[in-house]
């Protein structure tokens, strides 16, 4: 085991892929000479050259589409978006091309592509740079969407994403790039579509993913002080969703809190809540509790932004109100 940051784990996964497969290449805005807006690909251009580390014009639709075409030809592009918010500019390519082309060609064309993008609020980047559109994309059949919460999962999921023959949206919580964690030196992968029980518990099930996990883990510690034994689940994958793990946990605890770091309305947890309700509503001791970010455009002011975000006190308060815990 080695302790590295989430940024370093992604770098490790990318280097491994570039070293292991000549069909893997990286393209995106400022991934080359600049080294990546979040310094993920720092030093890559010097090592792998401009054919494999491709700086693109600021034309998201065009380079996402070019990624799709090259993937359809059998290459394995890893496309970096500077922000998940910029996915909007290339949304048609992601949805209508990457996700639909296999189906509408009757299974003739695969798109083994990874789109990596930093996501989430909390860095005072304002309305246009703080959004979490992985929650929109996880509704699209044909796409897979993953959102790691720690360095080990980031590496395991990145390995699985690059090997996957389908287009995978790899949502990197920008606020977690510096998060440190133990990562195995042995090769491992994290299967896409499998949630992870971080901590077993019996009193209440707490579920989140990505940026929400540090919050959920803190909330669990707070609950522990009150002798409440929470089970903590990390979704890791937003599509496919591992509902089975959540449902069997709820059948044990009878209580469920879902934390979305994206805006609450229409978030992935809305789908989780509806599925749990219909699959195992009988086991619930009370209403499913959802905590998410406020349904507002992201403000710049730190005070306002923090107020809009989900937080540990909001989680604790919601549990007090919902379950008198």
């Amino acid at each position: 085991m080695t302790e590295i940051t989430l940024r370093q784990s992604i770098q490790r996964g990318l280097i491994e892929a570039l070293d292991g497969d000549p069909d893997v290449f990286i393209m995106g805005e400022d991934v080359g000479a600049y080294g990546g807006a979040y310094a993920i690909t720092s030093g890559f251009l010097e090592k792998y050259g401009p054919e494999r580390i491709k700086d693109t014009p600021i034309s998201e639709a065009s380079f996402i589409g070019a990624g799709i075409g090259s993937a359809a030809s059998g290459l394995k592009p890893i496309v970096e978006l500077m922000s998940m918010s910029f996915a909007l500019v290339g949304f048609d390519q992601i949805v209508n091309m990457a996700a639909n082309i296999r189906y509408m060609s009757g299974g003739q064309i695969n798109v083994p592509m990874v789109i990596r993008a930093p996501t989430g609020a909390g860095m005072q980047l304002g309305a246009t740079h703080s959004q979490s559109f992985e929650t929109w994309l996880c509704e699209i059949p044909g796409l897979k969407v993953v959102a790691p919460s720690n360095p080990s999962d980031a590496l395991g999921l990145l390995r699985a994403s690059i090997k996957d023959p389908n287009p995978v949206i790899f949502a990197e919580s920008a606020g977690l790039y510096g998060l440190k964690g133990e990562v195995s030196d042995e090769y491992f992968e994290v299967e896409i579509g499998k949630a992870m029980i971080r901590k077993q518990g019996t009193d209440v099930t707490l579920v989140s993913y990505g940026h929400g996990m540090p919050m959920i883990e803190k909330a669990q510690e707070e609950l522990q002080k009150k002798d409440i034994d929470a089970e903590v689940i990390d979704l890791r994958s937003l599509n496919p969703l591992d509902l089975e793990t959540i449902i069997s946990s709820v059948q044990k605890t009878g209580r469920l809190l879902l934390l979305d770091t994206a805006r609450k309305t229409g978030g992935v947890m809305a789908e989780v809540a509806a599925s749990v309700q219909s699959e195992s509503g009988d086991y619930l001791d009370g209403p499913i509790i959802r905590v998410g970010s406020e349904d507002v455009p992201w403000p710049y002011s730190r005070k306002l932004e923090q107020h809009a975000m989900a937080s540990v006190p909001k989680i604790i308060k919601a549990l007090e109100i919902g379950y008198s815990l």
């Binding site: 090259s70 030809s73 060609s105």
Partner: protein
């Protein structure tokens, strides 16, 4: 050019014409549904340009895609079956008229968001370049697509990266019902469209199959030599409305009749006879063969089974 090559150009154009006529009939009979955009009138472009390609070159096109599919050599029966929504269709009944595919023939679709196929095509060209292969990608689009950001972005990208791609504009003067004069900044011409991206461009009469073939051959040669992308504008006209739902009231009869004088299915056989390249009886024999191919395609499509219900959930993920 060999005599057989001339006859093949005629055969392909006539096959497209008859295929489209049959599509129209079967749409009226309710056997083809959805949006159906016919290529009638534009045959010389698909046939002329695609005859200039190698089999391993990639073709990416728009939703008016029957002509390109036939010109590339896709099976007319499997194409008709696709339009009938049958499991024997080229896209197994899941694509329909606007989404025809045959990956084995490097025919990479039929794409129905205007201009969206252009970035995709750049990806096939990028893959050829990445692998140091000399295959070329041709992307077809209409005059309407030239106002999409994807067109301009990809022209720039292809030029910066010197991608082996041919941008092929089929200018039929109408984006659905809107004339080019009303949507083009300089009022009419596309002739300078590629200049801003340092892409070599040429214009050609899209009703003249030999001219289209020759112009495409020149462009492909440059691209294959590694000179980067080229751009061709071919002027043409669709003899029918935008789709079967369009009575084309925005065009006057005089304009339509004027273009019909240039119908390649009339002018090209006349040329072949007057130049002594082929005889009327040779062409009649082609006509008879194709009428049988179309009859067989409709029979095959009619008799083919619909997709199994389990197909609904297949092909979403690899």
């Amino acid at each position: 050019m060999q005599k057989s090559e001339y006859l093949e150009l005629y055969r392909k154009m006539y096959l497209i014409r008859r295929f489209e006529e049959s599509c129209g009939e079967n749409y009226s009979r309710g056997l083809i549904r959805g949006f159906l955009h016919l290529y009638t009138g534009e045959e010389a472009i698909a046939v002329g340009s695609i005859s200039a390609l190698r089999e391993d070159d990639f073709i990416v096109t728009h939703y008016r895609d029957h002509g390109h599919a036939i010109a590339r050599g896709l099976d007319p029966s499997a194409l008709m079956a696709e339009l009938f929504g049958k499991k024997t269709g080229v896209s197994r009944g899941k694509g329909g008229s606007m989404h025809l595919f045959d990956a084995k023939k490097n025919f990479m679709g039929g794409h129905a968001i205007v201009g969206a196929q252009i970035p995709l095509a750049a990806g096939f060209a990028l893959a050829s370049q990445y692998r140091h292969q000399d295959t070329v990608t041709v992307v077809f689009f209409g005059d309407g697509a030239t106002n999409q950001g994807t067109f301009h972005e990809t022209m720039n990208l292809a030029s910066v990266w010197k991608l082996p791609i041919l941008f092929f504009l089929e200018n039929n003067f109408y984006g659905m019902g809107t004339r080019v004069e009303n949507i083009r900044s300089n009022g009419k011409s596309f002739s300078n469209l590629a200049d801003g991206y340092d892409i070599t461009s040429s214009q050609v009469d899209g009703m003249d199959v030999l001219a289209v073939k020759e112009t495409t051959e020149e462009a492909i040669k440059k691209i294959r030599q590694g000179q980067g992308p080229c751009f061709i504008e071919a002027t043409t006209f669709r003899f029918q409305g935008h789709s079967m739902a369009d009575p084309a009231k925005y065009r006057n009869e005089k304009e339509v009749e004027g273009w019909k004088q240039k119908d390649p299915l009339i002018t090209f056989p006349k040329y072949l006879i007057s130049e002594g390249i082929a005889t009327q009886s040779e062409m009649n024999s082609i006509i008879n063969d194709i009428d049988q191919i179309i009859d067989e395609a409709v029979r095959f499509a009619s008799e083919s089974p619909e997709p199994d219900l389990k197909e609904l959930n297949n092909d979403i993920y690899a």
